[in-house]
Amino acid sequence: MTPTVDLGSFDRVAFFGGIYSNHLALGEALKLARSRKVDAIVALGDFGAFGPHPDRTIEILREASLPAIQGNYEQALSTGAEDCLCGYTDPRDNYYAQLSYDYTRTRTSAEHKAWMGNLPGHIRMTVGGRKLLLCHGSPRKVNEFLWRSMTPDPFIRKLLRDHEADVIVCTHTGLHWKRLIEPGRGIVNAGALGRPANDGQTHVWFTIVEEQEISPVPGEIQVEFVPVPYDHERLAREMAEESLPPEFIETIRTGWWTTCLEILPAKERALGKH
């Protein structure tokens, strides 16, 4: 892992959360983000897992030269770890996580693993004068889960204070949310391109952060979650051809999570079907 990189100043930036080998959604998201005239696109880690043909996602990312940070997946793959370092605690969650990891590990080229090993753990950038700190899980831990219902305002204040940032942009949970504790300060979880948001919809999400131009309060930023429809049936077919678990394919087809459920907090769990 290389040290924190500072990318400079921007007006409108798209953030891609966990891609989980969903190369089809990644392709659509790139088109959509470019059509929205963003001046940067940043990938927040967890490029592999869950989906088929992990190298296809990496090739698209490298081809597009997107700035990217390491998620726990890239840490694990580049260091040859035995598991994905996702941070699950339940045996069933771990069982499925291990299936994904073993599949992804054996199908990711050594060259791509080396590329992952050289990605930074954090990126800093400025949007509309606000200092953004980009991380995978949280600024203090690559696999910390920041869920909406478990990330209270006082804790957000502490993170911003400890890490000298106005806005923290993260992913890792697979669910997008934001909480601005005051104008231009707070947390944005960019969600995931890899699988739907456990809401019964098949599309996936990325996030745009931009300067709020007409605002009574200086330094206000605007956060937009952008749905990305893609050929999910084709992804499901590819997953079936690769003999990935039917539970994963069901999630792609229905929009409801069937695994990694135990890690969900009470509120987020209640919104899902399983």
Partner: protein, 298 residues
């Protein structure tokens, strides 16, 4: 973490140290050591007559919440004894849910339909999660009742049923006092059992036994080799211990963790500010935490 490596202690230090990396989890012993049960494995020996720690008042909780807010605490846990014995429990839940997510550890006996409905209302009114955790010690009265008391198995199930009927999905905890609960088959059997009693999406946590308090008499106390004396923990190993990110508030002050409240040397001060320093892991329960990687959190 059964593969915990044995490393020699730092020179001049008999026991390893657990630094507080950040105060993420704040425990409130809202019911003190007062409980409507007297379980044979209770590691703090709670009972209807154990007043070694008294109930916390709403006012005391609010005082600590103000300090916790400044420190950026991430989540709150309520325990006892039995939290729902506290006459101000609903006000305490409401006040805390304004500031962050709450988990409540209960034996379920006092969760009647009206209490379950109130819990649901408080949960819906907050943007933070409210989790209820109910303890049970087996699949049937035969295994549960000798530990928790005659007739408790059915009363616990009634409480769980009331929560489910109110649309809440409690986490069920079972200790390893329940035979086989730690194994994969044991887990699956338990999940099946929970489905059969009406929890369509059962959530289960299995806890190891801490050989202190009443449990030391029920099965056995720690043996002398079960200690961290002479060991050194890496920062990663220390980071797994809950005392590296939690503190416990009782009527007697601030303790290092929810486990050691009967040990005066585990009391770290009067306010949270007093209790932010490191802790020396002298206690034998610390051995269980280290070798099992166990935490009282969900």
């Amino acid at each position: 973490m059964s593969d915990a490596v044995h490393r020699p202690a730092e020179p001049g230090r008999e026991y390893p140290i657990s630094p507080l990396f950040a105060l993420d989890t704040l425990w409130f012993q809202v019911a003190g050591t007062l409980c409507n049960l007297q379980c044979t494995h209770c590691f703090i020996s709670s009972s209807p007559t154990n007043h070694s720690h008294e109930m916390l008042t709403l006012e005391a909780v609010k005082r600590h919440l103000a300090e916790a807010e400044a420190l950026g605490v991430k989540e709150y846990y309520f325990t006892g004894g039995e939290p729902f014995l506290n006459p101000e429990i609903f006000e305490i839940i409401e006040a805390t849910l304004k500031q962050g997510p709450v988990s409540i550890l209960t034996n379920g006996l006092l969760i009647r339909p009206d209490a379950a409905a109130s819990i649901r209302q408080l949960s819906d009114a907050s943007e933070y999660s409210l989790d209820i955790r109910v303890s049970i010690d087996g699949y049937d009265p035969r295994t549960n009742d000798p530990i928790r008391g005659p007739g408790t198995f059915h009363r616990i199930l009634t409480g769980i049923g009331n929560l489910a009927a109110a649309g809440l999905n409690p986490v069920i905890t079972v200790t390893e006092a329940c035979e086989g609960a730690g194994s994969q088959e044991g887990r699956l059997r338990f999940l099946e059992f929970l489905r059969s009693v009406g929890l369509t999406r059962p959530r289960l946590k299995v806890l190891p036994l801490l050989r202190i308090g009443a449990e030391a008499e029920r099965s056995r106390a720690y043996e002398s080799w079960e200690t961290l004396r002479g060991r050194h923990l890496t920062p990663e190993e220390a980071g797994i211990l809950q005392c590296s990110s939690c503190r416990m508030v009782t009527s007697q002050g601030i303790f290092v963790c929810p486990i050691l409240i009967d040990y005066p040397d585990a009391r770290m001060g009067e306010t949270l500010g007093d209790a932010l320093g490191p802790f020396e892991l002298r206690h034998q329960a610390c051995f269980t935490c280290h070798v099992t990687g166990f935490s009282c959190r969900t």
